[in-house]
Symmetry: C2
Subunit: 197 residues, 2 copies
DNA sequence: CCTACCGATCGGTAGG
DNA sequence: CCTACCGATCGGTAGG
């Protein structure tokens, strides 16, 4: 009971921060703007998160937690992992704010001294490893087209997701996020991604 | 003769701005930092470019001019256009600063009110149209694999280039920019990209 | 949690 | 081109 209100307040702040980061990036966001959206002063916000960076860390932490939860990504390497990524894209299309946040931060964090730089290094490595493993399994069962290198396939698959998101945000009407992903997988696999109806 | 020095000075400022934008993005850059790198005061810089936005416009203008020059991209739709893109990637690998600039600005400019937003809208549309046309030609000559949709192929090709660049900047050792592009084209085409030796 | 404040930095202007 | 300045905004702290 006792810390309940504080915990809710913290969650509200994290949510507001995620939205503002998506709109303006991390460096482009101010504690005052985030605080205003949850109805407090920026000094009040600093009572919950001692620094600007601490708030960013909390946002990234919650994103990871949400991802793990949705994925149950324990999914064994193979088609299931790829289906999970497509499902993630479907989820993202319905929640553009997540795409905003992710794309803005990823691009900003290219700078080695950005506080989210290590987070994204880790993120890319993990994503690639997971996808490489899946393509390797598919190769061994003949579900990957002849001559397709699992490592290139994985690297380009991840890059494609990221590039599509930026392009989708810039010219939304011109980009079919999920369709493009399926198209690409179709060009690599010898079997349909989804079980036939 | 007369305006020679001023023109050179302007070029110096634009070059410095491009570097700083690549490091810190547009919003993250200050006129004072750019001015310092060319050895003048920020007020002096504003003598050459009346506002921060005017300097950004000049940077983008010069980029376009350089692109057109290198491309002679009048290259007729078809394999030549795709080869040009691969050549661009080869050029970029040797000039990471260009990739920094482009990736940072593109991501920032996702925001509709960003001063470079329209520039990137135009940029994406043009790139897509050029590549779509080329894939259509290749389809008509049987050089595109059966069942590959030219529009999806073009959209994903552009997205892949952008996504690869961000990932390359974040984890340079793990990403083969040019190889990934060739891999991708290889999975779409029925003919080699380059004429056999 | 708030008010009030700090030092730093920003883009831009005045006036030469 | 420079010095000097302006108003605005920033993250963070003091003190309650």
């Amino acid at each position: 009971m006792t810390y309940q209100k504080g915990r809710i307040r913290r969650e509200d702040i994290i949510s507001a921060a995620a939205v503002v980061y998506g709109e303006a990036g991390y460096h482009g966001s101010s504690l005052r703007e985030i605080a205003k959206r949850v109805g407090m002063s920026h000094a009040g916000l600093l009572y919950y998160f001692p620094t600007k960076e601490a708030l960013l860390a909390a946002v990234l932490e919650r994103r990871d937690a949400e991802d793990s939860e949705r994925e149950q990504l324990a999914a064994a390497p193979g088609l299931g992992v790829l289906r999970n990524f497509v499902a993630l894209a479907e989820h993202n299309v319905r929640h553009p704010g997540i795409v905003d946040l992710y794309s803005r931060l990823a691009a900003e964090a290219v700078a080695p001294d950005h506080p989210a730089h290590e987070y994204f290094e880790r993120h890319y490595r993990q994503a690639r490893e997971s996808v490489i493993g899946s393509f390797r399994v598919l190769a061994s069962t003949g579900e990957l087209r002849e001559g397709v290198d699992p490592e290139f396939a994985a690297l380009t698959f991840i890059a494609l997701m990221d590039g599509l998101q930026v392009q989708w945000l810039t010219t939304p009407g011109d980009v079919d996020l999920v369709g493009s992903l399926r198209f690409y997988l179709g060009s690599l696999l010898t079997v349909p991604l989804d079980p036939e109806a």
